[in-house]
Symmetry: C2
Subunit: 244 residues, 2 copies
């Protein structure tokens, strides 16, 4: 048995997230089908993260096991020849049999993209969250600095979460503007359910003055979900990097 790790990228617009679901096509389902088609084996694929419906991935990793190992490049070329246009394999490498796409990950980085141009941009509409007023980057940067550290982040988490340990370490968090696109970037050893979408929603409230930066640590410590910002929509969220 040989284990391979695939680095993929996908436009999540058409998918119900990564994880196989009873209703709706998922990226995991497509990857299993296409790997099985390529190898004539029944292959199952394990992902590094459960991305939600509509979320994109600039980088996403998944591993699979096979009895009949092919050269690494054969998986890249072979899969790209049969995958739909919105999923691509970037790289493939053989890994140890105890390597795990999810549990071996040391750090993940997500980005959330806002668009605050005066007029709509038809090319960015599906890939950014359009906001009606100019974002205040200085306030958002100050908010991002406060995110870094080890905290019980349950205030930034959906009530649907199933984990009990809600302490995570945010390793870096920053915001940058490029024209009318403002990108919030956050890296952590792990994320709670909906965490990045709620952190982004809170950053938006900080920008528009609804939440004060001086209150952020207090809001985190309060664990009162309603004191944080809204859960922003998934189409502007990207898994950006995974470090093993």
């Amino acid at each position: 048995m040989t284990r391979f790790l695939l680095k993929i990228s996908y436009d999540g617009t058409a998918y119900h997230g990564w994880q196989v679901q009873p209703n709706g096509i998922t990226v995991q389902q497509i990857m299993c089908e296409k790997l099985s088609e390529l190898t004539k084996e029944r292959i199952s694929v394990t992902g590094c993260s459960r991305t939600d419906a509509g979320v994109h991935a600039n980088e996403f990793y998944c591993h699979f096991d096979t009895e009949h190992a092919l050269p690494e490049i054969a998986y890249v070329k072979g899969l790209n020849a049969i995958l739909p246009d919105d999923i691509a394999v970037i790289a493939c490498r053989k890994v140890a049999s105890d390597f795990h796409a999810r549990y071996s990950a040391k750090s993940k980085e997500y980005i959330y993209k806002f668009y605050d141009g005066d007029v709509p941009n038809p090319f960015l509409k599906k890939y950014t969250l359009s906001v009606p007023v100019k974002l205040n980057i200085d306030l958002m940067a100050e908010f991002c600095e406060k995110m870094v550290g080890t905290y019980d982040f349950s205030v930034f988490s959906s009530s649907k979460r199933t984990v009990t340990d809600t302490v995570r370490t945010v390793q870096s968090c920053s915001v940058a503007r490029e024209g009318d696109v403002v990108t919030l970037k956050i890296a952590a050893d792990g994320f709670l359910y909906n965490m990045v979408r709620i952190v982004a929603g809170t950053a938006l409230d900080v920008s528009n003055g609804k939440i004060k930066n001086a209150d952020i640590i207090d809001i985190i410590n309060s664990k009162q979900r309603e004191r944080a910002g809204a859960t922003l929509p998934p189409h502007a969220l990207y898994l950006n990097k995974v470090i093993y």
Copy 2:
């Protein structure tokens, strides 16, 4: 009667081009419908160019006449509120009644985008032409220089063209790489049917060595369509700028 000029932008993926057609939805049709809906008048819209099915526009201009002029900003805000996500109004201004979106244009600029990355990019697939080998920018730049000038460009034109005067002046033509995206940019006083897609196809043949730069002027003068490159697909073509 007041004439207004709208500056719009659209993702052409879902449209059968600009011009109203018996089969398939066009951008012109949507603009007429939405302007009529906004103004409660029956409005018809005249475009600066007939873009083909699938072609995009970073900038496109169209004019319309109305008996009940609204403030310019009302058209921008009002239309953007009811237009689909893939069409946006960027600006609106009152123009003289003899101003014409098409005939008053002094120059138009198109861009054609190639993608030559080693692995597919799911976010660029619909918006660039994926080519299997690295493009040779130096050869393409030399080709672009040869395009500039006043020529009978019929060799770069579909046999479906209806015009008899096939002399045009290319004002500028250049190529630039940004990562794995190579953009060919061409401005002229006018373009023949399919001209940019055939110029781009010829640039591609120059890059891969099928056509020599030394033969380009000879090929133009020959007027033999088969000596130029293929008509490349529309999804990587953008009307980029119009100068009045």
